[in-house]
Amino acid sequence: MVEMNLNRRQFLKLSGATAATLAVVELGFNEKKAYAKTKEFKIAKATVTPTICCYCGVGCGILVHTKNNTVVYTEGDPDSPINEGKLCSKGTTLRQLYTSEKRLTKPLYRAPGSNKWEEKDWEWMLDTIAKRTKETRDNSFVEVENGVTVNKTEKIASLGGAALDNEETYLLSKLMRGLGITYLEHQARI
């Protein structure tokens, strides 16, 4: 998207250089490579993308440094007025959300009574889920109750979403209500 690129360019202009310039101002010197180094500077040539922390509700700005298709560093966004480049322990480790060996990388399916996961492809998973949803909805749908149009199913629940983006929560809320689901809850309640 053009707009995003523009935005990123603007960002880089404002703060990509920033980390360096800011610090130079603070330290009062800018001695480049005063002596030979054996290693390349860790975040040299990395792409920097601003994000917002996914943990608590403070909403700290974070810079994600990516290089060679992995995340090499994450740090506070010095441009964000909320955290001014500072972070807590959780925000600082955002990198491991990407790098953790525990990340799920494939859709998994557990058959009734089974004691293990099976890898499945997305297509099969979504098709099957859609089928189950339809079955349950169709079996349980109530159009009218005591003379009032209610158009609901009380046999499907949707839980969670406090970590989703606004756009996602919007679509989720719209879809679930669109299906007639009344058991619609998320972490705000608990």
Binding site: A20, A23, K86, C88
Partner: protein, 275 residues
Amino acid sequence: MTKYVKYVDVTKCDGCRACMVACKNWNDLPAEPTEFLGSAQSHAKTTADTWNVLQYIEHENGKGNLEYLFRHSSCFHCTDAACEKVCPENAISYTKYGTVVIDQDTCVGCGYCTQNCPFEVISLKEYKDKNGKEYRKAHKCTMCTDRIDEGLQPACVTTCHTGAMEFGDKDAMIQKAEQRVKEIKDRYPNAMVYNPQGVGGTHSVYVLAEKPSVYGLPDNPKVPTSAVLWKDYAQPIGKAMIGATTMAVVGAFVANKIFSKKANGHDEDGGGNHE
């Protein structure tokens, strides 16, 4: 060259431990298994893979009030660094910023530094090379000297949100510390600047809320006398002695040649006129 100091005001620290993970994140340090220590503290002290550790201390002060104290503990970057002194390979050196760094290529993992650091912040780590052979390297906080080179502050300072840590010109930071101690004397009567002169001052200067012993810090740390005797006396004298003996032997050899020529015809065995 300007010397820099990491200023740590423990009274502003709220114990969030971002400094600990920022360090790991910047330096790509792995996590290590930790035991439950009976408090929020994760590691008893710094290790080869954990270059700074946040201490949590419950302390009842003179008035019987509870203080919950925190301290970011890591290498002090001493002006007279025992580790630098004892390193047999000159792998440890002072940078122009005043930081003390270990050259990983030169380090042989002997562990002399780990045993002589008055603050016990250096640790050895065992590695395996590609042939499965084990080797060791000493590790500690580098004060992110690679970042300083690029005009950035150490990762821990950069992430500290309360302003408990700052990084800057040595004199300014020391002045700041002294000023801060004055401000907090009411609340912390034992507050002090910890910049021990026994090691020539440090490049991590602390504002402590309590006496150093409360934090498990030595009151007057210094380069161990044994290390001074060893490195400043024993080793040079030893080397001189080897030199001297060698010289004596060489001298003796040469002298023998000379005298044996002069005494040609004499009994080579020396004076036969014994008895």
